[in-house]
């Protein structure tokens, strides 16, 4: 049995499906963010696997690095927003956050 790129892509599809399911069903904002992390991580695996197994270059490698940096920035900002929301509204469930301004 030889591992080709298909195996990596199938693993990434499983991770993407799990992330989609969590994104649809979760109500806690932090849990939704965790699902988004899963989806981004699936995309990163795809970049690295394509770069390593399908061609000889380092574009996919470099873009995985950028993707990791961007998702770190996104998480930091999103968590700052959520902590601020929690401080103001004492809640972080998306079905109860219906006050935009008061």
């Amino acid at each position: 049995m030889n591992i080709t790129i298909d195996y990596f892509l199938i693993l990434s599809a499983v991770m993407l499906g799990a992330g989609m399911y969590g994104f649809f069903t979760r109500r806690n904002t932090l849990a939704i963010l965790i699902s988004i992390e899963l989806i981004l991580n699936a995309a990163d695996i795809n970049f690295a696997a394509f770069n390593r197994l399908c061609q000889t270059g380092i574009e996919g490698y470099v873009f995985t690095l950028f993707s990791i940096a961007i998702s770190a920035a996104e998480t930091a900002i999103a968590i700052a927003v959520m902590i601020n929301i929690y401080r103001m509204l004492k809640n972080n469930y998306v079905d109860e956050l219906d006050t935009l301004k008061w």
Partner: protein
């Protein structure tokens, strides 16, 4: 079955199992812990591909930075009442499950039916020569044909904006 195949299968099972557990568990702190396991497994996949620097970055940034942020945020927003009120109806949960399964299944159909021109894992490139760190460094700081200086600078501006934005959003008023 060579060694790479066995290591890949073990890692893939680990990652898939914990990514499903991470979205199905009830407690959010457990979801964050399972996410940590998924990220470690992904770093293992990068090491398996020969991308050691990428695996190290994955562990440092994701497992060392982002998951710690999640744990702190979960603890800071800890007392959010009874989680039982927030469970979905069965119909909505089933709809989400069908959407996720159909999406992933469609992707897998395309992946399996498409004939990729792919090397085998661990076939001919030794791990050291897969992507030498000097090549990564010169590519990041090169403005020429094969350089990535513009995205590098864009990411640095993004990180600066992120620092300022995080401070302004989360400060006490």
């Amino acid at each position: 079955m060579n060694t790479e195949s066995i290591v890949f299968l073990v890692l893939a099972f680990f990652v898939a199992l914990f990514s499903v557990l991470s979205v199905t568990t009830k407690r959010i702190i457990r979801a964050a812990t399972y996410l940590l396991f998924v990220l470690f497994g992904t770093a293992g996949l990068y090491f398996l591909l020969g991308y050691t620097f990428l695996g190290a970055v994955q562990i440092m940034v994701y497992a060392g930075g982002i998951v710690v942020l999640y744990i702190f945020a979960i603890m800071l927003t800890g007392k959010t009442g009874d989680a039982k009120q927030h469970t979905l109806t069965v119909g909505k949960r089933a709809a989400a499950l069908v959407a996720a399964l159909v999406g992933a299944g469609l992707l897998m159909f395309v992946i399996i039916t498409h004939q990729f021109v792919s090397q085998q894992l661990g076939a001919d490139i030794t791990n050291e020569s897969a992507a030498p760190i000097s090549q990564i460094g010169s590519s990041l700081l090169n403005a020429g044909e094969e350089g990535n200086l513009l995205p590098f600078e864009a990411v640095s501006v993004l990180l600066l904006a992120c620092i300022i934005g995080g401070l302004i959003i989360a400060r006490k008023r």
